[in-house]
Symmetry: C2
Subunit: 319 residues, 2 copies
C-alpha cells in the first residue's frame, strides 16, 4: 500500500478541482473512500451519480468526521468559515491532515489557522492546474499530470504530514514545490491573477465599444482576442475571492503592468519602432522556456482543429 | 473551371500567410501556377523545396510579371515600397488584381494606392487567421477554413474584381465580409492589436520582476500566463508595423482598456466584491458566442493534451 494513501478523503466543495482530485486519487489507488459536501444538494447528487464520492453530506463537519485527509475545495473567501464550522463541531479526526487548493495562500493561512485543532496538521496547498470550466462534471483524472502543486507549510508544520501530502500530489500526477505563502502569492499574482484580470478586462472593454458591435468582436476574434476569452470564462466567484484576498501583490503587479503598458503606448505614439521591436522580441523568448518545461503544448495555435460550419466538408482533407 | 481560378498567382513574401494561401489554393484547384519572391534567397529556396511555389524570383517586379493575381504578404510597413517597385518596373499584367493580407488597412490603402496603375484592380484584404509561427514551413492548407477574410474595396473599385477575389477566399475555406478600411482598423484594434500588445506587455512585466524569477514564471505558467505567451511569440517585425500603422485606433482602444483596468484596480483596492463579480460574469458570456460562431474550440483548456515528462507514462490511461 502506498505511503501516500488515505483511508478516507473528505472533499469540502466538489467543483472542477475537487472532482479532479477524486478521479486522480482513484486512478492512483490513493483513496480508501472519498466523501464530500457541497454548497448545494444538487452538486452532492451529481457527485454521487458520477461516482466522484462514495458518500455525500450536507455539512463540511459531517464530511470531515472520520477522514484522515480533509481538502478545502471551496472559493478562497469561505475557507476560514468552513474550518471554523468543522472545528466547532469537533469532527476532525485525530492526526488528520487538513489542506486546501486555494489560489491564494496568505489569506487562507490567516483565516484557517486559528481554527485548526492541535491534533490536526494544516498544510496549505495549491495545484497550478485548471480549465475554464466549473462544477463536478468538469473534473478529470489527468488535470494535474505534469503540472506543479505548491505547498506552503508553516515553519512549525509536522514534516511527516508534509511528506505524506507531497506523496499524495505526486501520486495525482503533479510535481511538487514548497515555498512561503507570501512568495506564493507574489508568484501567482503575475502568473495567474493579473493575467485573469486583464482577460476579464479586455473582454469587457470590447463589450462597451459604441462603433464595434459584440457580433463583430465574436466574428473576428480569431485575430487574438479569443485566447483571452478562454480564461475570462472562469468562475466569477472564485476569481472575486482571489482578488479580494491577494490585494497587495495584485495591486503591485498591476501597477508595474500599467507602467510598462504606458511605455509601449508612448513608443507607439512617437513612432519608436526599434523600441517596439526589441520589446516584442524579448517577449517571444519566454514561450520557448514554457514549452521546454512541459507546461504548454508546442503545437501551433494550441493544436486547435478547425471548428464550425465547414468542418464536416473539410474533414476528408485533414491529415 | 472555377470562376475564382487564377492563371498565375504571385506571392510577394512567403511566410505563414503566403505559404498557407499557396497550400489552400492548390487544395481548391484555384491556381494554374504559383510564383513568389521573398526578402531572402533562403526563403525562396525553402518555398521551392516545399513545392509552395513553382518558380521563385529575387524581386517582386519579376514575380508580378504575367500574374493575374498579386498578393502582398509582406509586413505592413513595406507594402507601399513593394507596389512602387512593381509599378516602376512596369510588370503588372493588364487587368490583374492586386491584393494584400495586411492586418492594417487604412495605412496600406494610403501607401499602395498611389502606385497602382489604372489597368490594375487593387482590392485590400485581411484574412483573420494565423498562428504564433512564422516562415514558409509554418503554412498549411486549413489555416483559413471557417475563418473570416475582410475585404475593404474602395468605393470606385471594380465590382467584378471584388467578386472574383471574394470567390477566391471562399475557395480557400474562408467566410468573406466587406467593410471600410477605417472600420476594419477599429475592429481589429480591439480583436487583435490591443490583445497582442497586452500579451507582449505582460510577458515583459513578468520578465522584469526582482523577486519572482523567470524560472518561476515558466514553472507556474499553467495558471493562465501561458495563454498570453502564445500570441506574444508572434513575429516582432509584423507586429511593430501593425502598431506603427494603426496608431489612432490602437491608442484609443488602449486608453479605454486602461480606464477599465483602473476601475477594476480600484474595486480590488476598496473591496468592492459585487462590482468584481458582476464584471467577471459579464466577461464570461462573450466566450459562448465565439464558440457558437465556430471561431474557437469548445474543448476545455483548448483541448490541450498533457505534455512533458509524464506524457509517456500516462499515455495508456488517456482515452
Amino acid at each position: 500500500m502506498s505511503a501516500a494513501r488515505f483511508e478516507q478523503i473528505a472533499l469540502i466543495g466538489i467543483g472542477l478541482i475537487g472532482s479532479s482530485i477524486a478521479h486522480a486519487a482513484r486512478r492512483a489507488g490513493l483513496a480508501g473512500r472519498i466523501v464530500g459536501s457541497a454548497r448545494t444538494a444538487a452538486t452532492v447528487e451529481t457527485a454521487l451519480r458520477l461516482d466522484i464520492i462514495d458518500e455525500g453530506f450536507d455539512s463540511a463537519a459531517e464530511a470531515a468526521r472520520g477522514s484522515d485527509l480533509v481538502v478545502l475545495c471551496t472559493p478562497v473567501g469561505i475557507c476560514g468559515v468552513v474550518a471554523k464550522e468543522i472545528a466547532e463541531a469537533n469532527t476532525f479526526r485525530d492526526g488528520a491532515i487538513l489542506t486546501d487548493v486555494g489560489s491564494v495562500k496568505g489569506a487562507i493561512v490567516r483565516d484557517v489557522t486559528p481554527h485548526v485543532p492541535k491534533n490536526v496538521h494544516f498544510v496549505p496547498g495549491h495545484p497550478i492546474a485548471g480549465t475554464e470550466q466549473s462544477g463536478p462534471e468538469s473534473g478529470f483524472a489527468e488535470l494535474f499530470d505534469s503540472r506543479w502543486c505548491i505547498l506552503t507549510p508553516p515553519a512549525d508544520c509536522d514534516s511527516a504530514a508534509v511528506a505524506k501530502l507531497r506523496g499524495f500530489w505526486e501520486g495525482l500526477g503533479s510535481q511538487v514545490d514548497t515555498m512561503s505563502a507570501d512568495h506564493h502569492d507574489r508568484v501567482l499574482a503575475i502568473t495567474s491573477h493579473v493575467p485573469h484580470l486583464i482577460a476579464f478586462n479586455i473582454v469587457n472593454t470590447a463589450g462597451h465599444l459604441e462603433r464595434v458591435t459584440d457580433r463583430e468582436v465574436i466574428k473576428f476574434s480569431a485575430g487574438g482576442f479569443r485566447d483571452f476569452t478562454r480564461i475570462a470564462a472562469s468562475d466569477p466567484t472564485m476569481w472575486r475571492d482571489v482578488f479580494l484576498n491577494n490585494k497587495d501583490a495584485v495591486l503591485e503587479m498591476l501597477q508595474r503592468f500599467s507602467e510598462d503598458l504606458t511605455a509601449l503606448q508612448r513608443a507607439i505614439r512617437y513612432d519608436e519602432g526599434d523600441t517596439l521591436h526589441r520589446l516584442f522580441t524579448e517577449a517571444s523568448a519566454l514561450r520557448r522556456g514554457i514549452i521546454e518545461a512541459g507546461q504548454d503544448t508546442d503545437e501551433p495555435d494550441f493544436g486547435r482543429r478547425v471548428a464550425g460550419p465547414q468542418e464536416a466538408k473539410r474533414e476528408n482533407d485533414d491529415d
